[in-house]
Amino acid sequence: MAQKIDEKLVDQVAHLARLEFDNEQKNAIINDMNNMLVFVDKLNELNTDVIEPLVYMTDETNVLREDGVKQDITQKEALANAPKKDSDYFKVPKVVEKK
């Protein structure tokens, strides 16, 4: 049985994902997510009690390299793509209120 996605749950998930939906979009996403959960619930038909999860796709372990210091990009370059910045910092809306 699919976990029913309702408005409250969508609001919670949307907050976690830092997304927001207006009412019309919210109805659509509730509908889409419920359909997708019915679709993926098919996995519960398979018995996986004694199966270890497959987490890493590579057979390599502990691929290490020397921890050398090098500068790949400068501060100026790092700031170049920022939508708002000054000469040294990314700029964001004020997060500390005046007393």
Binding site: E20, V40, P53, A80
Partner: protein, 474 residues
């Protein structure tokens, strides 16, 4: 100028002086301009490509040219080229310019390939039709009312329409092979851990691989050989040196090949594609190869497992788009939280948000075990069964796509219907094995379609040999 189908043919004409690299680049630029309305390229690097062509023409004269001299290559718009815009066909990367080259780009350039531009794709490589691009649909080169496939739709269309010799795409669940099938070109998804993902915009990191789209198997092998191998910027790579894939040989061996009964009996598989599969099987048998029908009872679990795991990885990977460090920032934001929420909600398209939401849900407290951990266990089951088949057989033969290129809008109303387009391609991404789509079929509707071959991990060399054999027999 003729349409070249291999670098070898280009090389021969470059050596004899029949053409120059400059003339070749101009030929491709003209084809791009003539079919501008097909919306295949998001940006053409005309000046850079011509400047580079001039240098390489000099190198050829001086006999110092690299092995990819004369190869003009297009890149999917999720592969970084220093100093060039990069968008993943998303509004959220508005104004973004790459600060460095992807490792694959460094390696192509080091061997004198020319990068001709960046191609349209589904937003963040999420889609099977290229209809999810923020910059509009790509039209199929043979029928403009149809999709080229996706997500590397622009890359496949560019090769098919003779706008470049080859292209790079990325394949998370079929995004190279499905458009290759629709557009009639060769498309390879290498073994996971073969090609560096450094400088590639991530979708689902345990699935994503970069691979070539080409006319010939030889070119696919040569390009893979160039871009593969260890890279200190990607620790998920195999640490063994890249194999000499281009030196594959076919000394007329007898192959042991499995085909999946469940795939051939799948509802929705086009009757002509099914018949072509059966005819290919019979032909191979007649040529002395050993073909065995095997059961793969997990076919209907592949796409559900794929969507649980890839959306989870996507929700994590795409959390970096915050509207602060780069890309689009909403003008409607009032505080820090609304900067995140409004920038992301206005910047991402519908399909990307749908996947982030599902992925966030399956990773959230209370649902993680039921969905995400379950998906990882099913992934192990799928891998065990697939490798079991490949222990007994060298290759698995199956269709690439259930049908040929469809019309715009045909699958858009129902996301799940669109997801099932990937039913034959996601298996290799879920299990990490290599797979190639070969343009072996032409439908009575006039459109091409591919047949797919999967092989054991890191067995690309034999895969190329068999693929080349199939192409020769076409």
């Amino acid at each position: 100028m003729i349409k070249y189908h291999s670098l070898a043919a280009i090389n021969a004409d470059l050596q004899s002086g029949k053409i120059t690299v400059t003339a070749l680049v101009n030929h491709y630029l003209k084809n791009i301009a003539d079919k501008k309305d097909y919306n295949i390229f998001l940006e053409v690097f005309a000046d850079d490509a011509l400047a580079q062509a001039k240098l390489i023409d000099e190198k050829i004269k001086n006999k110092t040219a690299g092995k990819l001299a004369g190869a003009v290559i297009a890149l999917k718009d999720n592969i970084s080229v220093k100093g060039k815009k990069l968008s993943a066909s998303s509004k959220i990367l508005e104004g973004y310019t790459s600060l460095y080259n992807a490792t694959v780009v460094e390696r192509l350039l080091a061997h004198d390939a020319i990068i001709i531009g960046r191609t349209n794709c589904d937003e963040f490589a999420m889609g099977s039709s290229n209809e999810n691009s923020a910059f509009g649909n790509v039209h199929h080169p043979l029928d403009e009312s149809r999709v080229p496939g996706g997500s590397s739709g622009g890359s496949a269309a560019a090769v098919a329409a003779d706008m470049c010799l080859a292209a790079l795409g990325t394949d998370t669940g079929g995004s190279i092979r499905q458009p290759a099938s629709f557009c009639g070109v060769v498309g390879l998804k290498p073994t996971y851990g073969t090609v560096s993902r450094y400088g590639i915009i991530a979708y689902a990191s345990s699935f994503d691989q970069v691979g070539p789209l080409t006319h010939s198997v030889a070119d696919a092998a040569l390009i893979l050989e160039t871009i593969a191998g260890p890279d200190e910027y990607d620790s998920t790579l195999s640490q063994k040196p890249a194999q000499k894939f281009s030196e594959y040989t076919n000394k007329n061996p007898k192959y042991k090949i499995a085909y999946l009964r469940d795939c051939l009996e799948k509802d929705g598989l086009d009757a002509e594609i099914k018949n072509k599969m059966l005819a290919t099987i019979e032909q191979l048998k007649a040529d002395g190869h050993e073909l065995t029908a095997v059961d793969f009872p997990f076919l209907d679990y592949l796409v559900p497992a794929y969507y649980v795991l890839t959306t989870a990885e996507a929700s994590s990977n795409l959390s970096r788009y915050d509207g602060i460090r780069y890309g689009y920032r909403s003008k409607n934001a009032t505080d820090l939280e609304s900067t995140y929420k409004k920038s992301r909600s206005e910047g991402f398209g519908t399909e990307v948000k749908r996947r982030i939401m599902l992925g966030t849900f399956v990773l959230s407290a209370g649902y993680y075990d039921a969905y995400y951990a379950k998906g990882q266990k099913v992934r192990r089951l799928l891998q065990n069964k697939t490798l079991e088949i490949l222990n007994q057989h060298q290759f698995i033969l199956l269709p690439t796509t259930p049908g040929t290129a469809f019309k715009f809008g045909e699958n858009s109303a129902d996301p799940i219907k669109m997801y099932l387009e990937d039913i034959f391609t996601v298996q290799s991404n879920l299990t990490g094995i290599p797979a190639i789509s070969l343009p072996l079929g032409t439908h009575s509707n006039g459109l091409p379609y591919g047949i797919q071959v999967m092989a054991n991990k890191f067995d690309e060399k034999n895969l190329f040999a068999f693929a080349d054999y199939l192409m020769q027999k076409k």
